[in-house]
Amino acid sequence: MSDHHHKETFVTKYIFSTDHKMISKQYLVTGIFMGVIGVFMSMLFRLQIAWPDTSFSIIEAFLGRHQDGGVMSPDIYLAIVTIHGTIMVFFVLTAGLSGTFSNLLIPLQIGARDMASGFLNMVSYWLFFLSSVIMVISLFVEAGPASAGWTIYPPLSALPQAIPGSGMGMTLWLVSMAIFIASSLLGALNYIVTVLNLRTVGMKMTRLPLTIWAFFVTAIIGVVSFPVLLSAALLLIFDRSFGTSFFLSDIFIQGEVLHYQGGSPVLFEHLFWFLGHPEVYIVLLPALGITSEIISTNSRKPIFGYRAMIGSIIAIAFLSTIVWGHHMFISGMNPFLGSVFTFTTLLIAIPSAVKAFNYITTLWKGNLQMNPAMLFSIGLVSTFISGGLTGLVLGDSALDINVHDTYFVVAHFHLVMGVSAIYGMFAGVYHWFPKMYGRMMNKTLGYWHFWITAVAAYGVFFPMHFIGLAGLPRRYYSNTAFPLFDDVADVNIVITLFAILGGAAQIIFLANFFISIYKGKKAEQNPWRSNTLEWTTPVEHIHGNWPGEIPAVHRWPYDYSKPGHDEDFVSQVVPLYEGEEES
């Protein structure tokens, strides 16, 4: 590899690149762009929720024909809620997070020149880009984008008569998602093959950093579950366009009976959640992997219970594929199935608890280096616990009855998968920015970014549990039709104010990110004094990662502060000294 140099043109280097490091940056920047759209939408609908019937010039400016005098229409409200969910879950937290860091770290941390197939990797990114473009285009169609909720339950998503967004907007949504799934499958297969086959000498599976374990297992979950969503999307396309009745039956709408007979929306729910629930872990596990690595490095301590962490990643992954029914306790599914899904769901709390306790124990008696990445990682553990615990309410079929689809659910999943995963993403960006761009991000801006975000995130989602417990359904355009909910109006204002604060804080991040690319301080080779292999590569990116031989690995990645060594870190490439025991 090192002895033949392709002449790289601008196009092969920056656009159709097959280098995993460049592809990772492409994923990140696309993910950030989509994230800006997704977060901006949440600002718009939070304005509507807090101050319904109030005119906002920003709404007038951005929503065009979907607003009247600065007040958004109910249909566009549902549409931006839908697109916010879709973009954040799939485009930011699946592609933006996993795509970025799996691509960057898998070859670098296992000691490989590149992904198993650089070409497939490139195709994977460009399919993702295409699906992003289609999703963004769908925002501009005449009747508005898809608006049946990010779960796109039919019949609402199947019938343009039921809601305007189910016309062209929904078609584009489905096409975009189908392409997205293809992209994600290509990526995932590549990750799996690379981890299994291209590890360097000495890199046993039990010496892999937990990041790699997390990406590897995430890819497996993706391969198992994404195709099921693809099939659901295809069947829905058939129902919408070719008159089949997979999900539809006995429908009377706008004065006429439709021809559909014999299908069931509950079938769609099963197919959707067979991906939808594992998706939570597709989003979360990479964030947890990143956190494991960062907490250990910055605590200057080995991650506590390395094998238990691997075990719990695998256990979570396995269980995640048999719990989907907990989204459907009151869907009309047989109550006995509800019992089974309650059982499997609450089992997931055990490996999750192990992970949380292990993180906390890793901090104990550490020597914590408070870099911005570390702050976000500690923040992740906090929101993971806060959000995870309310899962005990929602995962229990009996308790789910009265909080299902209320704001309690919104608060729960935003904390446990939304905020936690985005913290993981931020942590990863701060930590591996020097590896990506050869420069450092500014820490002071990082601190401001973290603390404002942390206060805002709890300020938004903690009170939100209470309006859910007050019985307020999610996805209500306004609560003014119910005097019963007049007393939650104040809470909603508080939430919106915190949301705006949190949204604004992200500008600090964007500024820090883009300025640092060009003006950041030049990075040293191993700025965080870390053990993993990516820090043995030169700062300047080269094709093939290592200039000479790929180094061999002699130890696990967590020998921090190991007795018998002068430094408080020992790189994986350092051989064991005579008589040294491997941890």
């Binding site: 605590s299 906390i360 914590l368 359904p473």
Partner: protein, 335 residues
């Protein structure tokens, strides 16, 4: 046009930050001992903010929560909820304390070496087995309540009511004297027969269609849910009851109302809540609100999803019976 202004404004802000950041020292990139100290202290402060926010929310927002359950099954729900919530709060309080405390206590100091502590089977066993045991208890308790709520087959003489959903309205149908609902399908919808009741079915004739739900106190009510167009969800939060309405199938839920509307209006928690609401309404110059049970739609169903509701009135059985006997039956309505 205004959108362009906003975008320009954003660019101006970005340029401003760029300039400020350039002036600021971009060279400070790795946490120093001083940073460790400051940030560690900030974590302690954040811990205080965190507990403060929790306590504040529980005190301030307890008045907006739902009042006591208005159904017998809901009382079991509330007990299970309390047990779970106490457990959650105990675990939350302990783990978050440890997290923020450790972040503060072990903030980095130059020259100190962290403890090399990679494993402890004993500890890991403890925090695998304890959650497992607690969860086993929680699962068994939860499932006993679930089975109890979801299986109304042992009810004596239950009242059968169909709740019928469509964009954006609820209707209902009582099973009438034979206590058996007549067959129905959307293909029979015609004119005043808005629920598509099959009038050739003899069970249908005595069915009673209504637009306002009345329920008798103390008698088990078995609800049969249907939808004519998209998914809806029949949510009756005061009874701790919810079930989706699915086109093409009939779903079911049951509960026994335990407080009449009048009794609920006199319940302490209801009074506190209603007083709170009326204070807000008075400030806005709106009419005072009087408590009523409600059926809401809780599954996104279209533009007016947010305004799809039906009033529920719970009354003594004798009042209920006389109300029901004054309603027209299907046979009378369709003629």
């Amino acid at each position: 046009m205004t959108a362009l202004l906003y975008i320009l404004l954003a660019i101006v802000v970005a340029v401003a930050i760029w300039q400020v950041a350039s002036i600021l020292n971009l060279k400070s990139v790795i946490a120093t001992e001083k940073d460790n100290n400051t940030q560690g202290i900030l974590f302690a402060a954040f811990g205080i903010f965190f507990y403060g926010l929790m306590i504040f929310s529980f005190v301030k927002y307890s008045s907006i929560l739902l009042p006591d359950s208005a159904s017998l099954e809901g009382e079991k729900y509330d007990t299970l909820y309390m047990v779970t919530m106490v457990l959650i709060l105990v675990v939350q309080a302990i783990t978050q304390f440890l997290l923020f405390y450790f972040a503060f206590k072990y903030r980095g100091v130059k020259g100190r070496k962290a403890l090399f502590y990679a494993d402890s089977h004993k500890l890991e066993m403890i925090w695998t087995i304890i959650p497992a045991v607690v969860l086993a208890g929680l699962v068994l308790y939860g499932l006993s309540v679930w089975i109890d709520v979801m299986d109304p087959s042992d009810a004596e003489n239950p009242l059968i009511v169909e709740v019928y959903a469509k964009q954006f309205q609820w209707e209902a149908r009582y099973a009438g004297e034979d206590n058996e609902l007549g067959l129905a399908n959307v293909r029979n919808i015609k004119g005043i027969n808005t629920m598509g009741v099959d009038m050739t079915d003899k069970n249908a004739l005595d069915d009673v269609p209504v637009r306002e739900l009345h329920l008798p106190k103390g008698r088990k009510v078995i609800f049969k849910f249907r939808s004519q167009d998209v998914l809806h969800s029949a949510y009756m939060p005061h009874f701790r009851a919810q079930m989706n309405c699915v086109p093409g199938m009939v779903t079911q839920f049951a509960f026994t109302p335990s407080m009449t509307t009048e009794e609920m209006r006199l319940n302490d928690k209801t009074i506190t809540k209603v007083d709170g609401i009326n204070k807000i309404r008075a400030e806005k110059g709106e009419d005072p609100y009087e408590f009523d049970y409600l059926l809401l739609c809780n599954k996104i169903c279209g533009s007016s999803h947010y305004n799809m509701q039906m009033k529920i009135i719970v009354e003594e059985e004798s009042e209920f019976n006389s109300w029901l006997s004054n309603q027209k039956t299907m046979a009378q309505v369709v003629q």
